[in-house]
């Protein structure tokens, strides 16, 4: 390896295992071993018979290992359908999904198995309210029984501290703010070292300030961990700020319309938002999304 730019990061940011980004921000870096997703001709209907609706229509996406892939589209366009199929929550009607070359679902395999290699962070959060923050974070490895309990709790404590969440270990999720909850949930997911992290509009309900903090926290944990991130949102700035690539989807049926490469290096900070390149990319994405919103509106007019 002689060519390629140096991966610069803020001093004090722990070095991610092979911080190599196989995407726009770092085009020549080598591939990570885990977390490449191929979605091939995915089709999904909702409902049965005459009244059924085509939610996803021959959607194909090729996501490299270790990238932050953000999907933007008008609400109800079928983004979540894709995520659910990836997570194994429901089957596709046609097409297939592969993870690192292995068939997740498709011909011969109706539903992807649900497992800790792909972990979902839900829209409204799914921390178990009956377990403390520490127990929540330790949940995945504890269920698999891989690590002795003391060591596991110690590791969970360390992960919480790394994310700036020390002092919350013994709180119940119900006692913490929504921002803390969301961060704990991301820590809980990353404790399992998943190949893919699936986030379904996780910051939707947060206020602007907390949201900005979440973005930096997510990027920090992404740089530490390096899982592939599949992120759904309809907030364009959020998409460009987080994503290495941003896919703008067509309104129903859902299919990628444009895929933008975000050539801004990680770690991105609040300063990124004011940079010229960032504004350009946001403008580009906004135009594409706006077209789709108009299409969706026209469609609604016709139907309704």
């Amino acid at each position: 390896m002689t060519a390629g730019a140096i991966a610069w990061r803020s001093v004090g940011t722990p070095r991610a295992a092979a911080v190599v980004r196989p995407h726009a921000a770092d085009p020549d870096a080598p591939l990570r071993r885990r977390g490449a997703i191929q979605i091939v001709d995915a089709v999904k209907y909702y409902g049965v018979g005459e009244s059924r609706v085509l939610a996803v229509d021959h959607c194909s996406l090729d996501i490299s290992a270790g990238e932050v892939f953000v999907v933007v589209g008008p609400s109800g366009c079928g983004k979540t359908t894709l995520l659910n199929a990836l997570a194994g929550f429901h089957p596709l009607d046609a097409g297939s999904i592969h993870l690192d070359g292995e068939l997740l679902c498709g011909p011969g395999r109706e539903k992807a198995p649900i497992g800790s290699d792909r972990i979902v962070v839900f829209q409204n959060g799914a921390l178990f309210p009956w377990k403390t923050v520490l127990e929540n974070v330790a949940f995945g490895p504890a269920m698999r029984g891989a690590i002795p309990r003391d060591e596991l709790l110690e590791r969970a404590r360390r992960r919480l501290a790394e994310a700036g969440l020390q002092g919350y270990e013994q709180s119940y999720p119900g006692e913490t703010s929504s921002g803390v909850k969301r961060r704990v949930e991301i820590v809980r997911a990353l404790m399992n070292d998943p190949a893919v992290l699936l986030l379904d509009e996780p910051f939707r309900a947060l206020d602007a300030l907390t949201k900005a903090m979440m973005h930096e926290a997510l990027i920090a944990s992404y740089l530490r961990n390096g899982s592939t991130v599949f992120f759904i949102t309809h907030d364009i700035e959020e998409a460009v700020f987080l994503g290495s690539r941003v896919a703008i989807m067509t309104s129903r049926p859902c299919r990628p319309k444009t895929i933008l490469s975000v050539d801004i290096r990680y770690p991105r900070s609040r300063e990124t938002v004011t940079s010229k390149r960032f504004r350009e990319l946001v403008a580009e994405a906004t135009t594409a999304v706006h077209e789709e919103a108009l299409n969706a509106y026209a469609l609604g007019e016709k139907e309704g």
Partner: protein
């Protein structure tokens, strides 16, 4: 463009057409029928175990068999006394329950909206509530001039507490900010009450009515049993379903006990179904005004 092959593949697999009607039912209904049938079979075989096993199975062996119950019922269908029992129980439920609704709901609203009244009434309310309604039967018989009235009174007590508490929680569930807004926009007290508070209270009151009508049936049966069926003419017929059961037991016609139990079950089910239907209607009509948050 929709791919036809894909579209077809996506159709749910149709069940092969069957000539046997039961197989065409959806799975839950099929399973329900299976389990009803199994329960009936176990009951029948268990009850008649004395005849075909030579000895009675414990417990189940002493229960009258369903075939005997059916036989007893077929005789009773033509007996006007049986139907008078129905009418007598319904009448008591109707009187006691309406009295409880007419007093309990307003009391609940007043208690919820007026702090001093709440402070005065609620502790006494909580003092009396843990006393089981049936414990009031002797006192009611002593106090009221007729047994009919005393049974009505006990039914009233049974339904009353639940109705009051549900009216209170309904009134409390109305968002105070909504009332504040209405007031600032110049709504009259009367308007606030009829357009904000009452629609907000209604769902909770309806739930309270459904729960308390169930309690009402529990109470009417027990009250009829304990008080010996009300007035003197009860001995022959008009004592209500609770008395009908007790009388069947005392008279040794055991299959009739089960007929009575099923009859009360049906009566209770019908009354709550009727209330549910009314509730569904009212809340649909109400939905746009709903003051609940």
């Amino acid at each position: 463009m929709v791919n036809l092959a894909v579209a077809r593949a996506a159709e749910p697999r149709a069940r092969p057409p069957s000539t046997i009607a039961i197989l065409r039912l959806a799975r839950p209904q099929r399973r329900a029928l299976v389990s009803y049938f199994a329960a009936l079979l176990v009951w029948q075989l268990g009850s008649t175990s004395g005849r075909w096993l030579g000895f009675e199975l414990p417990l189940l062996g002493r229960v009258p068999a369903p075939s005997d119950v059916l036989l007893a019922w077929s005789h009773l269908i033509l007996d006007p006394g049986y139907w008078q029992s129905w009418i007598a129980s319904w009448k008591r439920v109707a009187v006691g329950f309406s009295a409880a609704v007419l007093t309990g709901v307003p009391l609940g609203l007043i208690m919820a909206l007026n702090r001093p009244i709440w402070d005065v009434v609620f502790p006494v309310f909580e003092l009396l509530r843990p006393i089981p309604p049936l414990a009031w039967v002797p006192v009611a018989i002593i106090f009221w001039p007729t047994q009919e009235l005393s049974i009505d009174a006990v039914i009233f007590i049974g339904a009353f507490y639940t109705l009051v508490l549900n009216a209170v929680s309904g009134a409390r569930s109305v968002d105070p900010r909504l009332i504040e807004v209405a007031r600032s926009m110049g709504a009259s007290k009367r308007n606030i009450l009829t357009r904000l508070v009452l629609p907000g209270v209604l769902p909770s009151v309806l739930v309270g009515m459904e729960v308390s009508i169930g309690i009402t049936w529990e109470v009417v049966v027990a009250a009829e049993m304990i008080s010996g069926g009300g007035s003197s003419r009860a001995a022959s017929s008009g004592g209500g379903l609770g008395f009908f059961i007790w009388n069947s037991y005392v008279g040794g016609s055991y299959p009739q006990i089960i007929v009575g139990m099923i009859s009360i079950g049906i009566a209770g089910y019908l009354s709550s179904a009727a209330l549910r239907a009314v509730a569904a209607r009212l809340s649909r009509w109400n939905a746009p005004h709903g003051g609940r948050t």
